[in-house]
Amino acid sequence: MQVYLPIAEISVDIILLLAMGGGVGLLSGIFGVGGGFLMTPLLIFIGVPPAVAVATQANNVIAASVSGVFAHWRRGNVDFLMGWVLLIGGFIGSTIGVGLFTFLKSLGQIDLVINLSYVVFLGTIGLLMMLEGLKAVFRRRRSGGASRGKLHEHNWFHGLPLKIRFRKSRLYISALLPLGIGFFVGVLSAIMGVGGGFILVPAMIYMLGMPTAMVIGTSLFQIIFVAANVTFLQAAQNQTVDIVLALVLLVGSVLGAQLGTRIGAKMQGDWLRLLLGIMVVMVCGKLFLDLLVTPADLYSLEVTL
């Protein structure tokens, strides 16, 4: 059964969309990630114009983050002060990001920038995750037990001014650091249509030194607002948010996520990280290849929206 997407202006098989939403929801449930980094390339692959894919996916990130944040909130695992500071950076970053998006679109380079961002950021993160997962799996084989991770190190950025005490995270650090991280993730969120959890979570653990339990809830909390800002600006400036597409994907991903969380609870963390790493690297590899291989037709029609 086909459904016509009024903003993307194409018709797509509704079963395919539901399956994609379900599949990505399943993975995001298993691995505890937003799944935007998988959904956006998939949407582009089935023919949704990249600009629509990115903007609509930002809208979906809101729903995914809202459904996740409640559980963490009830357990008291959201550092609101940290969340707000990240958010200020995120708002500025995503606003500039959407502006940049509009500008790149007018230059005809938005597809390239979306692809390159995926290759660079996901490639790096995916490789790191894969290596760390592999290391942990082998270490456990040898010693028969997981080793304790080291606490955060003190680096140059701990000497920055504007220090604030984050009681919940038990940190006394410069506000410039979370502001900067929030800003950077905000820009990525606007250009890649992702929540940015895959950058935010490691940055909060390794750079800010936040307790791991506090990280997921706090990042979800700030992602809701950054994604909302991206959705609003994309809708107002570029008219690229497709509500019909978003709704169909939502139904699939909510159902998939339920199933995924149950599967994820039964799997070992290190194996999960390894598998997620492999998957991320594969998505990247495909995108990278697309940039390197000589296209069948050097000429293409610009999609006008």
């Binding site: 059964m1 086909q2 459904v3 016509y4 009024p6 903003i7 202006e9 194409i10 018709s11 809208n59 979906n60 809101i62 729903a63 995914a64 983050s65 809202v66 459904s67 996740g68 409640f70 559980a71 005809g108 380079q109 597809d111 390239l112 390159l116 909302a228 959705t231 609003f232 600006l233 994309q234 809708a235 107002a236 400036q237 008219q239 948010v241 509500i243 019909v244 978003a246 709704l247 939502l250 909510v254 996520a257 339920q258 969380t261 940039l291 390197l292 291989v293 000589t294 296209p295 037709d297 050097l298 000429y299 293409s300 029609l301 610009e302 006008t304």
Partner: protein, 255 residues
């Protein structure tokens, strides 16, 4: 005293009578063609996945039939990739202004055999006669040809341009039919379907009938709302996402 308006009217009458005189005096055979579409409205609804439009018609004297379906004019922008530091990126662009957004031809025989190039040029038939040639200031020579070919190639791939893709079939001595296929990405607007009755490469009669392609119902409302009330549309989209996330959470907690 003759007013300007009367003057126009007089001219009009004169032209008309000359035209009728000419056609009487003309030795060319006179054809009479009748044709109509299976529908004058292509409605793009939620379940739209492209459409087929049939055209039926009849001619009262022998000859060939050519049907042209032309969509509203639009601007198309083409991009050309080249390799920069090992990566393929768009490095050049060219905009074609006021070209048909949709163009399809169906006929009883190959275009070259049933029409002369002069006839095609005079009646804007075929890809060489619909304004796809770039003005000299934009591009010339082989460069202009490359851009033009690439536009036609890409639009044919998307189904927006179709050349002799459909056949006009005679169902009897006089009755003929043809079918056009509109892709799901069909541009919206007013189309014109022109039916030509040809003999010896000359057009002896023609008829044009309109076809409207438009988004209908919810699909149209969503599109219009998104384009006219972008900010409010964004807020609604956010609200829907928040509610569905919350519902997802509730369902998740119970399950």
């Amino acid at each position: 005293m003759i007013t300007i308006r009367d003057h126009y009217l007089l001219n009009f009458i004169l032209v008309l009578s000359f035209a009728s005189l000419l056609s009487i005096a003309d030795t060319k055979p006179v054809g009479a063609i009748e044709a109509d579409l299976s529908s004058h409205l292509v409605a793009i609804r939620a379940d739209f996945s492209g459409d087929r439009i049939q055209l039926y018609g009849s001619i009262n004297t022998p000859g060939e039939v050519l049907v042209v379906m032309r969509g509203p004019d639009t601007d198309y922008k083409m991009l050309r990739k080249s390799r920069v530091a090992g990566i393929w990126m768009n490095t050049a662009s060219m905009t074609f202004e006021d070209v048909p957004s949709f163009y399809a031809i169906a006929s009883t025989g190959p275009l070259d055999e049933i029409t002369s190039s002069a006839t095609r040029a005079l009646n804007n038939i075929g890809f060489n006669n619909i304004g796809l040639d770039l003005p000299i200031i934009k591009a010339a020579g082989s460069l202009a040809k490359d851009w033009k070919d690439s536009l036609i190639r890409n639009l044919m791939r998307s189904g927006n341009y179709q050349l002799e893709s459909a056949e006009v079939v005679f169902l009897g001595e006089h009755l003929f039919k043809t079918e056009f296929e509109l892709p799901s990405s069909v541009p919206t607007g007013t189309y014109f379907v022109s039916v030509y009755h040809l003999r010896n490469g000359q057009i002896i009669d023609a008829r044009t009938t309109p076809l409207s392609v438009s988004k209908i119902g919810l699909e149209a409302e969503i599109f219009d709302y998104a384009h006219h009330h972008g900010a409010m549309y964004g807020i609604i989209a956010i609200f829907i996402a928040l509610i569905s996330g919350w519902i997802g959470h509730l369902a998740f907690r119970k399950g």
